[in-house]
Assembly symmetry: none
Homo-oligomer: 225 residues x 2
DNA sequence: CATATTAATGACGATATCATTATAATTTGA
DNA sequence: TCAAATTATAATGATATCGTCATTAATATG
């Protein structure tokens, strides 16, 4: 994800940048209110982290400015301990959450993840589950009911896409674009074929057939959790 | 999990052992600094709990000794109330956290769980780099100097193993076990072959040949960062 | 310097995975 | 109920990746 960090204090800035990057994000930093506002208005970020006490303005002002331009990117405010009425002011200017300095890395990531999860796609989870099905992204491992199941690359990628959109209907065009990176119609039914492969491998280890067909619409990976 | 507890005070030792075991851990105890250090250096634990005031030395010394031997096992220090500068000293010797006596069982377990959680998923980095080389684990993407390079599964897994052990020499046996999950000698030079493949693909995009051969020992992925 | 040892790379057949096609099964709507 | 539309799966040939072997290159040692 693309993150904008607006913070003048070098030590805090470096820490925040490091933590975010370690968690797989692309970070852009700004050290003044002017610069931060400029970046925020002219680029698309997934989250913006704003310090309150900047040399040439404060985070609230930037946030207000951003919202006035109809930019809905989630904003996390970093506030110093002594700052008063942070919560109320955050609400007023349309910020999503705030974090009081000093904070530790886990706190920061927890807030960032909470906000982005709330606001959009679910981020980049490391473990995806759906009932008996579990995928560990880092190990690239798929288990059904605890037993490991080997998948080919295409099968794995397809399954991951379904898991990331579980309980949502995904159509063939979306699948082609996001799993195969194909942006045109190949006139073949390869997606049906791979859905079939997946079902077979899942069927071998559990009763439930998680992949549901929605005629004329696409497929859903269905489960209660 | 396997826990080492180094504590001379019998009542504290018994309590800690009982609490940990009740929570499903295997506990080994040592009552002197000498014994504790000996255990720590010659066995693999998931966490080490060290008392500061031991009859023949203190926890800080053991901790330092452990870290000097490149053992990264999380260490939790138990300190008496009157001990000064515990936090600073902990940082200095590479301990992960400390707990002031007296403490209650819940506190202890909370610390233990926090430490092991932190260290376990912090070990699974999402982005691995070495100079120009970058691997994004979740996207399963490899870039050299910013340009994407396609790798086969085996090539990718081998590269990841090298990255996870960058600047450390890894021998062929280790590679076989961790990348191919082969626990015997196949009598062939397949690892050399894949090293060769990797080098070729890296060479195509950058001058530096990151993979160094250490004759009779193995290979190193070398870089300054 | 000569030779033995170790590593690097080219080449090859076996196998796995790929996209596609053909055919079977299912669902829909007249 | 029956044909048309849609989806599921079996089958196939093409290609990529696999592990192995053979050969060449590099390095160490006497």
């Amino acid at each position: 994800m693309d993150v904008l960090v607006v913070e003048d204090d070098a030590s805090v800035r470096t820490l925040v940048k490091a933590v975010l990057e370690k968690n797989g994000n692309d970070v852009r930093v700004a050290t003044t209110a002017q610069e931060g506002e400029d970046y925020a208005l002219n680029n698309k970020f997934d989250i913006i982290i704003l310090d309150l006490g900047l040399p040439d303005g404060d985070g609230f002002e930037i946030c207000k400015e951003i919202r006035d331009h109809d930019i809905t990117t989630p904003v996390l405010i970093l506030s110093a301990e002594q700052e008063t009425d942070v919560k109320v002011k955050c609400l007023k200017v349309g910020a999503d959450d705030y974090l009081t300095k000093p904070f530790n890395p886990e706190e920061l990531m927890a807030r960032v993840e909470a906000i982005t999860r709330r606001s959009s796609d679910g981020g980049a989870e490391q473990i995806l589950t759906c009932g008996d099905l579990q995928v560990k992204m880092l190990e690239r491992e798929f288990t059904v009911n605890g037993t490991k199941v080997d998948l080919t690359n295409n099968e794995f990628n397809l399954l991951v896409y379904l898991l990331k959109n579980k309980n949502k209907i995904v159509n063939q065009e979306e699948i082609a674009e996001n799993v195969w990176d194909i942006h045109f119609d190949t006139q073949t039914n390869y997606i049906n074929v791979y859905i079939s492969y997946l079902r077979k491998k899942i069927r071998d280890h559990t009763e439930n057939d998680y992949i549901e067909t929605v005629r004329k619409k696409g497929f859903v990976l269905r489960c209660d959790d």
